[in-house]
């Protein structure tokens, strides 16, 4: 029985050491350290922060999580939050965080000259830092590019049983549909989604990479993906019978989304975090963004990665991205009504 008691005491001791250590950890976060909450994944932000520390001597502490979770946590932590910056991967999340009184407005000439205005919040609450284009991908074996034109055209009955789409639960789909609602109105958007759903070759996929695999395997012929997923696939298997097609070039342009960040309202390290945000928009950081994930740099002076530039240039949809955020719940309602899973 002594053994049991000993174990009990030992574990309680362990528990309290852990408890106190985690509290001291929070208190120890003084000094030149900026704290970031991020829904951009660790392997995509760590190299950036490392370089920032090298350049400025300011350390960066980060915690990754889901966008919605982190926003909730920031709200509840209020003016005591340890976070100086919130970073996320979708304009809808950035817009929503803006409405929740989490960000503070930053007006910086450096950011304004580095990042074009449609990729920034009109009130300076957040800044886009990398651009992801969502466009059509097709099988080079079974589809000729002449047959393709717009997102809306994929609702045409000629694609019946040939279309693969990503789930409506994914934020990229929601933002795309929000842009269609903005550009073409709710009624047209409804027709388009209805057509998409009846053209589906398979249950909507959980991942963009699954869509491309399905096209290669012959389950479907066309799909809609973020270009960096295509970039990663082509880097690994350059001979894959797939190609990107720039959608809506004669009308509104390709739907783009951003990953971005903003300084939190109660940032304990206002100066350091503003500096980090400015640095992230700089040429050096933007080049890292471009090479890490095959995204488009938000800073237009920086060239894309080699594979990315080989796809050629395209016309972007210049809709201000906060609109995508505003229309997101309307987009979801529409998709759920039309049975887009």
């Amino acid at each position: 029985m002594f053994i049991f008691l000993k174990k009990l005491l030992l574990s309680l001791a362990l528990f309290f050491t852990l408890l106190t250590s985690s509290i001291t950890q929070i208190q120890a976060s003084t000094g030149d350290t900026v704290t970031v909450y991020s829904s951009r994944k660790e392997h995509l932000i760590k190299p950036l922060f490392k370089q920032f520390t090298k350049d400025t001597g300011i350390k960066v502490k980060y915690l990754t999580g889901k966008g919605g979770d982190l926003i909730e946590r920031l709200k509840l932590e209020g003016d005591k939050t340890p976070a100086d910056m919130f970073m996320t991967v979708d304009a809808g999340d950035l817009w929503y965080a803006g409405t929740q009184n989490i960000f503070q407005s930053v007006s910086s000439d450096i950011i304004n000259s580095n990042i074009p205005s449609h990729l920034r919040d009109p009130d300076g609450l957040w800044t886009g830092l990398s651009v992801r284009a969502r466009t059509i991908v097709y099988s080079t074996d079974r589809v000729s590019p002449d047959e393709l034109s717009t997102y809306a055209d994929l609702a045409n009955a000629k694609w019946s049983g040939k279309l693969c789409l990503r789930t409506s639960k994914k934020i990229y789909t929601k933002s795309l549909v929000a842009s269609i609602i903005h550009n073409q109105g709710n009624e047209n958007a409804k027709q388009i989604i209805n057509g998409w759903v009846s053209n589906l070759a398979a249950v909507p996929n959980a991942k963009d990479s699954h869509i491309m695999n399905a096209i290669i395997a012959g389950q479907c012929d066309v799909g809609i993906v973020n270009t960096y997923y295509f970039g990663r696939l082509i880097e690994k298997s350059p001979d894959a019978p797939l190609k990107l097609y720039w959608a809506n070039q004669d009308s509104t342009g390709v739907h783009v989304n951003v990953s971005g960040a903003g300084v939190t309202k109660y940032a304990p390290k206002l100066k350091g975090s503003t500096k980090l945000l400015e640095w992230l928009s700089s040429a050096k950081a933007q080049a890292i963004y471009a090479s890490l994930n095959k995204e488009y740099p938000a800073n237009q002076n920086i060239a894309s990665d080699e594979i990315v530039s080989s796809w050629g240039s395209f016309k972007q949809d210049k809709m201000n991205l906060s609109i995508a955020g505003k229309l997101q719940s309307e987009a979801v309602t529409l998709m759920q009504r039309q049975g887009y899973k």
Binding site: F4, S11, F15, L63, D69, S329, R337
Partner: protein, 533 residues
């Protein structure tokens, strides 16, 4: 005097049960908020489909795991066949693999673009099919992932069955199948029901597998309310309905069990049947086939994937991932087990109040809540405490508790108490009241009775529960992801972050480490278990 002490222990137990239930009670309190318009939209466009598909999924999984789990357990306990000894323990191994990892492997291999289908199409010329449409593929996935719960409990129950009853059946000329259906199965029914109950609660709370299959269950609506419509209130209201479903499941399980107690405490290791020759090898093939499909094949796939990217993915960071996982797993398991043991200690049956029993039951319902809902409930709990503290002139404690180990461990206890409690309770149920009476007659204090009689007798159940909790904590993602402190990334977090980006090959590196760690925990479990016999 005596009455007083008993009531006092009842009060302590009730208090403990209430504390453990707090996150769930906060979630349920969302019903105090007026119903939003969102309900109308959900009722029109989502709920009809997902209630049907949730029910189909639950029914399919329940039938699947109860058949597979109990047949395997029966074969392993009652029949001597080639390879039985190692298969008996190998069948536990799928426990070590997180359900979402299993799902991405199965999809990678068996979906339209998976190589298994490509090869079959090439050979036979048959058209391919989408395994994510319909219900059977996801049901099968859940069955292969969760059958060990039923297997484990049915196996323990078969081992305790009186061999004489089976011998009697044999003497009366019943064939093995009839003995199985008419004697062994009815005797093991409570154990099987308990295993099915755990499985169904896991299935209800699952988000990883259903989102990879893009299958609609109740959690779909919960996440839609929160993620799409930013309404935590509706998400919490929906989630508390899950708790209600779990409540009914437990109720039916209790009913199925009835007052029956068929256990004998003696455990024998005599096999009533020997299968030799062709039948023996057929049984081997079947059991081995399950093991291959549920463990060996997925693991082989993970090994192949991870070896192709190991250099790219491996770094010293993995020491951190592993130590975080290890420390959290260990401390959560120990704490959960302590709480569970306190709740499950035998109490004087005469004075055993129905209210206390109900509170304990309530505290185990959290298992059916999706981890992230439980975690947010916990954040709001802290927020409520802060509000009270500010009201009385204090300050907010949110920033101290959020992202502290203490809160995360509390979430684990709240979520996994059901497993530890069920296991501890099963052993305490076997303690006859006579022990308590004789101890009292001899003038022993309650403390001595607990320390020297009850706890040692409950030890096997407590240990088994602790190991199961440890494996579950190791695999846990949503609560960990939301509540962990800075720098406490676990292996599960790493798997999620990579696979969310579609980098399945790289994700298989941390997944493989998890499986090895989980398998070692199960091995300890196995050793303890076989020492008992």
């Amino acid at each position: 005097m005596l009455r007083n002490t008993i009531t006092r222990s009842n009060i302590w137990v009730s208090l403990l049960a209430i504390i453990v239930s707090l996150p769930m009670l906060v979630v349920a309190s969302s019903w105090l908020i007026p119903i939003s318009d969102l309900w109308l939209h959900f009722a029109q466009s989502l709920l009809p489909e997902l209630i049907t598909s949730t029910l189909i999924l639950l029914a399919g999984v329940a039938i699947g795991v109860s058949i597979l789990g109990s047949v395997l357990a029966y074969l392993v306990v009652m029949v001597e066949f080639p390879g039985r000894r190692w298969l008996e323990w190998a069948l536990f191994l799928p426990f070590a693999v997180p359900a979402y990892v299993m799902a991405f492997v199965y999809l990678g291999v068996f979906d339209y673009s998976g190589y298994a289908q490509v090869i079959i199409r090439d050979i036979t010329g048959l058209p391919g099919f989408d395994i994510r449409s319909g219900h059977w593929a996801i049901i099968l996935t859940f069955v292969l992932v969760f059958y060990p719960y039923v297997y484990m409990m049915a196996r323990a129950s078969f081992k305790c069955q009186k061999i004489q009853m089976i011998e009697a059946g044999k003497m009366l000329g019943a064939n093995p199948l009839r003995v199985f259906l008419r004697i062994s199965m009815p005797l093991a029914r409570p154990a099987i029901a308990a295993g099915v109950l755990v499985t169904l609660m896991e299935t209800l709370a699952d988000f990883g597998v259903v989102s990879l299959f893009n299958y609609s269950t109740f959690t779909t609506a919960i996440y839609s309310a929160w993620g799409d419509f930013r309404s935590i209130e509706v998400a919490a209201q929906l989630a508390s309905l899950l708790v209600l479903v779990a409540f009914f499941l437990i109720y039916f399980e209790r009913k199925a069990r009835g007052k029956a107690k068929y256990y004998s405490t003696e455990v024998t290791d005599i096999k009533p049947y020997r299968a030799t020759g062709l039948i023996g090898w057929l049984i081997f093939l079947f059991v081995f086939g399950v093991f291959m499909l549920a463990f060996a094949m997925p693991i082989l796939q993970i090994i192949i994937w991870s070896s192709s990217v190991f250099k790219e993915e491996w770094s010293l960071k993995y020491l951190d991932y592993f130590s975080s996982t290890f420390i959290l797993t260990l401390s959560a398991a120990i704490l959960t087990v302590i709480v569970a043991a306190l709740l499950a200690l035998p109490r004087d049956r005469v004075k055993n109040s129905k209210v206390v029993q109900a509170l304990i039951r309530l505290s185990t319902l959290g298992y059916a809540l999706p981890g992230s809902v439980m975690a947010v409930g916990l954040l709001y709990l802290v927020q409520n405490i802060s509000t009270v503290s500010i009201y009385f002139g204090g300050s907010s404690i949110n920033h101290i508790l959020f992202g502290s180990i203490a809160l995360l461990l509390f979430a684990y206890i709240s979520r996994f108490i059901a497993i530890a409690y069920n296991s501890a309770n099963a052993s305490s149920d076997q303690i006859k009241p006579v022990y308590g009476h004789s101890a009292k007659l001899l003038g022993a204090s309650r403390f001595r009775l607990v320390m020297e009689v009850y706890l040692p007798m409950m030890a096997p159940g407590i240990l088994a529960g602790g190991l199961l909790v440890a494996v579950d904590v190791m695999k846990e993602l949503p609560a960990t992801y939301l509540l962990r402190p800075f720098g406490w990334d676990t292996l599960a977090v790493r798997v999620y972050e990579l696979s969310a980006e579609g980098l399945f090959e790289r994700a298989s590196v941390p997944a493989l480490i998890m499986v090895i760690f989980g398998a070692s925990l199960l091995f300890i479990f196995h050793r303890l278990d076989s020492n008992k016999i």
